[in-house]
Amino acid sequence: MASQIEKELREVLDGMQQLQTEKNSLIQTREKLQTQLSENKMVKQELDLVKEGDTVYKLMGPALIKQDSREAQTNVGKRLEYIEAEIKRYEKLMDDNEAKAAKAQEKVLALKSKLDKEREAQSKKQ
């Protein structure tokens, strides 16, 4: 009986470890997105300041391609929207992860106390 609880406990602990790794990679991606967001915001600001006579180019591979400044603005705007949506998505994933981790923690505590009781009972028998 006790060994079964132990087995279960080990499984939950493994799950927690996995959640932790998942959390770390989530945080990393979230940070990357944040950097992209602020970079794109700055580009948007600059594109808003572009004057009539200025020419906008986009680097595509090794070549600079002329681009309509309004088109560039909408493109960056779209990219900003996309990044913001991604950030929201990752935030939700992080919340889910945290909730799962909390649940696992509870389970560990419950299993541990169960295991203690089991052992106590066993030692009394002996």
């Binding site: 600059e46 200025d54 906008v56 180019y57 986009k58």
Partner: protein
């Protein structure tokens, strides 16, 4: 209930809400570690901000060198790190500026100068903000380190006196 009130009172007295002379040593140690990590991160941030600022002000200086008289002058342009070709400056009034994420804008010289000035100013503001936080954290770090040192000394003293009384009895 009375206990809670006392704790609340203590929290108000101490800015951080915890008395660093009373928290468990283990906790103090972890606070010490996380503070030193934070200070390190902030120092790296300051370094890279300064680096970026230097790059922008160098660019600003470089375009100031370009004058209407520069037109037609020959210069060596790097194609790779070790390969240069002669080139002639045809239009010194236009400058191509990299504004990030693969976008380049051909601006007038004045606008390009304004761009770099704007960037330098922005970075200066960011730097000031980070520096304020960094010095705050450094102060906290020093306070925690000092408390840690005192607590360690106290602990050692206690152990010593404990050993003394044990040997004398």
């Amino acid at each position: 209930m009375a206990d809670k009130q006392q704790q609340g009172g203590e929290g108000q007295q101490q800015q951080e809400g915890i008395d660093i002379m009373r928290v468990p040593m283990q906790q103090l140690e972890s606070v010490r570690q996380s503070l030193s990590q934070e200070v390190q991160t902030l120092t790296t941030a300051i370094k890279s901000l300064k680096h970026a600022q230097t790059k922008f002000s160098n660019s600003l200086e470089s375009i100031k060198q370009v004058t209407p008289e520069s037109a037609g002058k020959k210069s060596l342009v790097p194609l790779t790190e070790s390969l240069y070709v002669y080139a002639e400056l045809t239009d010194p009034s236009k400058i191509l500026v990299d504004i990030g994420t693969g976008y380049y804008v051909e601006k007038s010289k004045e606008d390009a100068e304004a761009y770099f000035q704007r960037k330098v100013k922005f970075l200066t503001e960011q730097l000031q903000g980070v520096q304020v936080v960094a010095s705050e954290k450094q102060r906290e770090q020093a306070a925690v380190a000092e408390a840690y040192r005192i607590r360690m000394a106290q602990q050692q003293q206690q152990q010593q006196s404990g050993a003394d009384s044990a040997s004398s009895s």
